[in-house]
């Protein structure tokens, strides 16, 4: 039985959005607000309406002017999230909107129909116009429904839907809203959270492999010393994942014999993890806190604050890439890894090459990531012709997708190498146990990528490792054991 959700324009929650992202289909209904803004008219809205001199097809042609239906698609969840936002906002203005529009959006969300928007529609007006055309029934556009992509024409036929009759107000209203960039930001923030948690797991695996020193994760350093919540959370996550580890102890270090005397502290890329990963989390937190407000107050025309915060999350994700790449790097060198075989070679070094080029790929991808650092905000402007502010938030959100995709790969490589390091450490200390979460992480990762003993085609392993990260497979497995990570 599906849960029900009654929208009144002010009660949408980020948890609901997370549930939609996770594939939940709500039974949605709406309560029309009593204090309506019937005074307002959307006819003065942005450009598309300017050419709405006539009824009927005139609207549609001007919408079509803005929409490219070519190239890659946005994540399909974004279309559905956009509809929730549109619906929630429409409730507040239902007196000027046609009932047909509200019923059409309701039908889409209740059937779990996900409009597929094209990436090439790089402005909010274009993206919202595509959404509007899909709701109308533009035949060659796409939706995702019941596990498959369907052309809108055949979907409408299947569901017995007719084309929507828009009013001038409907179109002006839809095309003036920032639903798509807000939906993209919700999607991206959830992805960023997955990545920050996954990075904590990578660190735990790394600690096992190098028999790391855990004092840097001591609760007091964070709760008393520098009490950012984010920093406290990361230290706690890592402690929970490595709970009961015998490798990350003085006894483990002595037994392995990779140290000369007691280990004082690990390198910064390991011991500054609570601070650095914590800082990255804060950028995501700031974005989520603003989204929490925006989902019940969708901006018309521009939402610059979300853009600034997205640009900053991109910086944070790049920094997560910076620190991950340095951790992978340390595993290549026997001195830095406290005695793991050079280049993590499984057997017969010299003949077998190990991981140096795989690690260098992380470096290369990181350099690619850094090219995304320039904030789109710096290119917002006041258009010379129209004298309108050109907001870049949607463009920032598109760039964020690229950042997420690249970081999946960098963390995939770190996990791949840390898993190899764990296996090599374990082969020397067979009676020692890993921590409860890191043991599970290794176990599950090995269902997808095997230990490397002899020279083997690297690329498929890297692609598989990336998928483990992207799909949250190891994350889910670890959370099943240690409980939800913070």
């Amino acid at each position: 039985m599906s849960a029900s959700l009654q929208l009144d324009g002010s009660n949408l929650k980020m948890e609901d959005m997370a549930a939609v992202l996770a594939g939940k289909i709500f039974k949605v209904s709406i309560v029309k607000s009593h204090s309506q803004t019937s005074e307002r008219s959307f006819q003065q809205s942005d450009l598309p309406t300017k050419s709405f001199g006539e009824q009927g097809e005139g609207f549609l042609d001007s919408l079509r002017d803005w929409v490219q239906s070519d190239g890659e698609l946005l994540p399909k969840e974004v279309g559905l999230l956009s509809l929730y936002l549109l619906l929630n906002h429409s409730v507040k203005h239902s007196d000027v909107l046609s009932d047909g529009l509200l019923q059409r959006v309701l039908l889409f969300v209740n059937h779990g129909i996900e409009p597929c928007l094209h990436k090439e529609n790089r402005t909010e007006t274009s993206a919202m116009s595509e959404l509007a055309l899909i709701l109308y029934g533009e035949e060659e556009l796409l939706c995702y429904h019941q596990g498959q992509f369907k052309a809108v024409g055949s979907l409408f036929e299947e569901l017995g839907l007719t084309k929507l009759q828009y009013t001038r107000e409907d179109v002006a209203f839809i095309t003036g809203l920032c639903c798509v960039s807000t939906a993209m930001s919700i999607y991206a923030a959830a992805e960023a959270s997955r990545l920050t948690k996954t990075a904590d797991i990578c660190v735990a695996m790394q600690l096992e492999a190098i028999r790391g020193e855990t004092g840097a994760f001591d609760r007091r350093l964070h709760e008393l010393g520098r009490p950012y919540n984010s920093q406290i959370e990361v230290a706690e996550n890592v402690r929970r994942i490595i709970k009961d580890s015998e490798f990350t102890t003085e006894r483990g270090r002595e037994a392995y014999g990779g140290d000369n005397g007691p280990r004082c502290q690990d390198a910064i890329s390991i011991r500054a993890v609570p601070q650095t990963h914590g800082g990255v989390r804060d950028t995501v937190k700031w974005l989520k806190e603003q989204l929490d407000k925006d989902i019940n107050d969708i901006a018309e025309k521009s939402n610059p604050l979300i853009g600034y915060l997205l640009d900053l999350v991109i910086v944070g994700l790049i920094d997560l890439g910076n620190i991950s790449e340095r951790r992978s790097f340390r595993l290549l060198d026997s001195k830095m890894s406290y005695g793991l075989p050079m280049n993590l070679v499984g057997e017969n070094p010299g003949f077998n090459h190990g991981f140096p080029v795989i690690q260098a790929a992380a470096t290369a991808i990181l350099a690619e990531m850094k090219l995304l650092a320039l904030p789109n905000t710096a290119f917002s402007k006041i258009d010379h012709i129209t004298r309108k502010y050109v907001c870049t938030t949607l463009e920032s959100s598109l760039k964020m997708l690229d950042a997420i995709s690249l970081l999946n790969k960098i963390l995939g490589i770190e996990m791949y190498m840390a898993a190899q390091g764990m296996d090599l450490a374990k082969s020397k200390l067979v009676d020692f146990e890993f921590g409860i979460g890191s043991k599970e992480a290794l176990h599950v990762f090995r269902n997808f990528v095997q230990t490397v003993k002899v020279n083997r085609f690297a690329s498929p392993d890297m692609v598989a490792a990336e998928k483990v990260v992207t799909d949250g497979i190891v994350l889910q497995a670890v959370e099943d054991i240690v409980g939800n990570l913070k």
């Binding site: 004092g215 001591d218 350093l221 010393g225 009490p227 390198a267 620190i323």
Partner: protein
């Protein structure tokens, strides 16, 4: 307020307090009594560790590097602390604005007063004495990654200890620290004891001082902008699309920045930290010298200024249009400042380069982020000066000089001469009137 003292305790120092203290709006800054007791208590443990049968506690009674497993005596620590700041005291380029380095002394005193660092309260009082006298360490601007401002803070430690080669700025004079102390009747040498050099150097307090002034400048510039807009809008409002929305967005984002900088004022950032356990204290090593969030928010500040700059430019464009192109020189000069601000928006925090033979293999570059934010704010100040110059020129043409003077009554500039010089005069006026702080101040003889 002039008659009251500001007490620091490590938990409550704000940007506002700091600016007030720097401006001399408090009689002096003192260490609060409870904080002093906390410091005495943790320091007593350090003294116990310095006893003859104490265990080796890394970072407390040991040396560094090859000496890390060797316990040093209190005398050896005194000797060591006379030279160990020197190889850390890196720095090239121009001298940082003395207002910034002086402020770092206050911020650091506050950090140490939390009590986790195990230094003597006398050290904190010495730092406050230097601050209260208006003495500023002479520190060159380049050489810190922001993963600890080791270079700048080693300079501070040299000054605090009264090391022979330490230099300061005092009332515009660049002089030796010892000579300055003697002139003021202070102890010229303050022997630094066990743990007291590392406790001063570890952490990013110079970055923090720059960030404080970035926040201060931003607050002042937003105020200046509001005032200039009041002039422009007095008779006939100039409506620019979405301006209110951008203003609101900038304001909200700036709240995040200010909250973060205020939070970072009251943290502990050195190593090791002393935490109370049943029978005394335990020393724990960590990495709270990473001030990740500060670097991020300084980059964010740059983004905000980049968006703001577009609006200032639009005002100037409109004024120039109304004046039939007479403000062309102002318009083009202003546009160059907008481009400078935009080019400075490349974030510093997205980079990291491994240092110290891969031991410090991730750095924040927060020092660079804060420096860059302050530079962007200086460019923004210049941009606002051009806007005010444009308003002044327009005013003059219309034979109505009262508009500008109503808002800036003490602005006394020549409106008939060169536009560029007019903007420069306005820029100087704003600097003085609103206490705007730049990264570098050229002084005679440097």
């Amino acid at each position: 307020m002039k008659d009251a003292n500001l007490y620091i305790d490590g938990y409550s120092l704000t940007v506002e307090h700091i600016i007030e203290a720097v401006r001399g709006e408090w009689k002096s800054v003192r260490l609060e009594a409870e904080a002093k007791a906390r410091c005495e208590s943790s320091r007593a443990q350090v003294s116990r560790w310095l006893g003859s049968d104490a265990p080796v506690v890394y970072g407390v009674n040991t040396g560094l590097g090859n000496l890390k497993d060797t316990a040093l005596s209190p005398e050896e620590h005194l000797d060591w602390n006379k030279t160990i700041p020197y190889p850390h005291a890196v720095g090239v380029g121009e001298y940082l604005n003395p207002v910034i380095t002086r402020t770092s002394m206050l911020i650091r005193a506050n950090v140490l007063s939390r009590g986790y660092s195990g230094v003597r309260p006398q050290l904190i009082e010495r730092m406050l004495e230097i601050f209260n006298h208006g003495i500023a360490p002479a520190v060159r601007e380049l050489g810190s990654t922001g993963l600890s401002d080791l270079g700048p803070l080693a300079h501070n430690a040299m000054v605090v200890g009264g090391l022979e080669e330490a230099q300061v700025f005092y009332k515009g004079r660049h002089m030796s620290a010892q000579a300055c102390f003697q002139e003021l009747g202070m102890e010229d040498v303050f022997p630094l004891e066990c743990k007291e050099v590392l406790s001063q150097m570890n952490g990013s307090t110079m970055t923090q001082a720059i960030a404080i002034f970035a926040c201060h400048n931003m607050q002042q510039l937003l105020e200046i902008e509001t005032r200039i807009e009041a002039i422009l809008n007095r008779d006939q409002p100039i409506i620019i699309d979405s301006k209110e929305r951008v203003d609101m967005a900038v304001q909200k984002a700036f709240e995040i920045i200010l909250n973060t900088v205020n939070f970072e004022n009251n943290i502990t950032c050195d190593n090791p930290l002393l935490f109370e356990v049943e029978d005394g204290y335990e020393a724990v090593m960590g990495c709270n010298c990473s001030n990740t969030q500060v670097g991020y928010v300084m980059d964010l500040l740059n983004f905000l200024i980049a968006d703001k700059a577009n609006y200032i430019m639009e005002f100037i464009n409109r004024l120039d249009f109304e004046e039939g192109g007479r403000l062309n020189a102002i318009r083009e000069a202003a546009a160059a400042r907008v481009r400078l601000i935009h080019s400075l928006s490349l974030p510093a925090s997205a980079d990291s380069i491994s240092t110290k033979a891969n031991q410090e293999d991730h750095v924040e570059f927060s020092f660079g982020a804060a420096r860059k934010a302050l530079k962007a704010l200086t460019a923004y100040q210049s941009l606002l000066s051009y806007l005010l110059a444009a308003a002044t020129k327009t005013d003059a043409v219309r034979k109505n000089t009262s508009k500008v003077l109503e808002v800036f009554p003490d602005l006394n500039v020549n409106t008939t001469g060169s536009s560029a010089n007019l903007a420069a005069s306005i820029n100087h006026y704003l600097t003085g009137k609103f206490d705007l702080v730049s990264l570098i101040v050229k002084t005679d003889g440097d």
